[in-house]
């Protein structure tokens, strides 16, 4: 698979909320509060006793297929990786939801990434 052809939409979780700072490089988009409204992503964050509960909605189009849509949650402690896990997709009307919880302690160093090949309408 040619990675250069795969646009990635990345959320950087920082602070108590997904204070989403952004930059774009190649076909990778980092989502922030500034550009999230222009992206196919919406994020809900609920404060729970044990951490922040994230519900990320990714709007799909007619070219989206389950086979090639992937999401990954990477949790780190400073520069030490704690885990890197593919997150289950929950297909809903017009899109896919992802749910996960991250402790506030590890938000600044954790990352959630959605990968979908050849999403031309989002470039």
């Amino acid at each position: 698979m040619n990675l250069k052809l795969i646009p990635c939409l990345a959320l950087v979780l920082s602070g108590l909320f997904p204070a989403l700072s952004a930059h774009a490089e190649m076909d990778t988009f980092q989502i922030s509060p500034v550009n999230v409204s222009d992206s196919p992503i919406s994020v809900q964050v609920t404060n729970m006793d044990s951490g922040e509960w994230f519900t990320v909605f990714y709007k799909t189009n007619e070219t989206t297929t389950d086979k090639f849509l992937h999401a990954n949650l990477q949790v780190s402690d400073g520069d030490k990786k704690i885990s890197s896990v593919p997150v289950e997709k929950i297909w809903t009307t017009n899109g896919v939801e992802f749910e996960f919880m991250v402790s506030a302690t590890y938000l600044t160093t954790s990352k959630f990434t959605i990968t979908e090949p050849e999403r031309c309408d989002r470039k």
Binding site: S50, G51, H70, A71, L73, V75, D77, K80, K81, I82, S83, S84, V85, P86, V87, E88, K89, E99, F100, M101, V102, S103, T105, Y106, S110
Partner: protein
């Protein structure tokens, strides 16, 4: 929800298999890849019942002591052909989970596989600690105390110690040229985890003293199947 704890005593009868891989990582000390292959069907409560995976799911929860670090449902897929030593039904019909864990949080990371039924109200969740499936570096000896001496309490199968013919009951007289009494059990056991271990052992049945030189190797807990 019925939570079934999985450990070395019951792993063989579980509807899933676990493999670990450290070869793709820069350092075994930093992270480990876990592969879990689950049977899509769980054991039924009654004949004709169908405990199915799609009504449950798989979840990874990581803690720092008692505080939650993260938790999420893990995405599954088809079992890749590179998986080895996996039973045929799992290879054909199994659901494959692959994730990477840093070794710093293995002690308190749990993986759960849950099965539900359309006609049975209970959801069965099989829970296991990832640490159970991590390869250890050792010579394969477990120690015990016998009076003021240290003895071999157990020799783990498939390890350097078992290959050298060591048996339970041998008295550990010296470790790397030092009287074992100076180590104490914990320090002696820790000393067995790295490098080359020079042991002087006494067989109490005949009083004979033997010396063995053992090199530590990666061994897996007997829980793996």
């Amino acid at each position: 929800m019925v939570v079934i704890s999985v450990d070395s005593t019951n792993i063989q009868s579980m509807p899933f298999a676990v493999r670990t891989d450290t070869s793709g990582n820069a350092s075994f000390d930093k992270s480990i890849n876990f592969y879990v292959i689950a049977d899509p069907k769980g054991p039924p409560y009654t004949p004709g019942d169908n405990m199915h995976f799609s009504l449950g799911g798989a979840n990874l929860s990581i803690y720092d002591g008692t505080n939650l670090v993260s938790s999420c449902s893990v995405a599954g897929g088809k079992v890749p052909s590179f998986m080895q030593d996996v039973n045929a039904p799992f290879m054909t019909n199994g659901v494959f989970y692959s994730f990477e864990m840093g070794t710093n949080h293995l002690e308190s990371a749990n993986f759960e596989i849950c099965y539900g039924s359309g006609i049975h109200p209970a959801i069965d969740c099989y829970r296991f600690a990832l640490r159970t499936f991590v390869p250890e570096t050792s010579i394969g000896l477990l120690l015990g105390e016998k009076g003021d001496k240290i003895e071999v309490a157990e020799v783990l199968p498939g390890t350097p110690a078992s290959r050298a013919g060591l048996t339970a009951g041998l008295i550990v007289q010296q470790i790397n040229g030092v009287d074992s009494a100076r180590y104490g059990i914990k320090m002696a056991q820790d000393g067995f985890r790295f490098g080359i271990v020079d042991l002087e052992l006494v067989d109490p049945s005949n009083g004979k003293t033997n010396k063995v030189l053992l090199t530590t190797a990666k061994t897996f807990p007997s829980a793996i199947h």
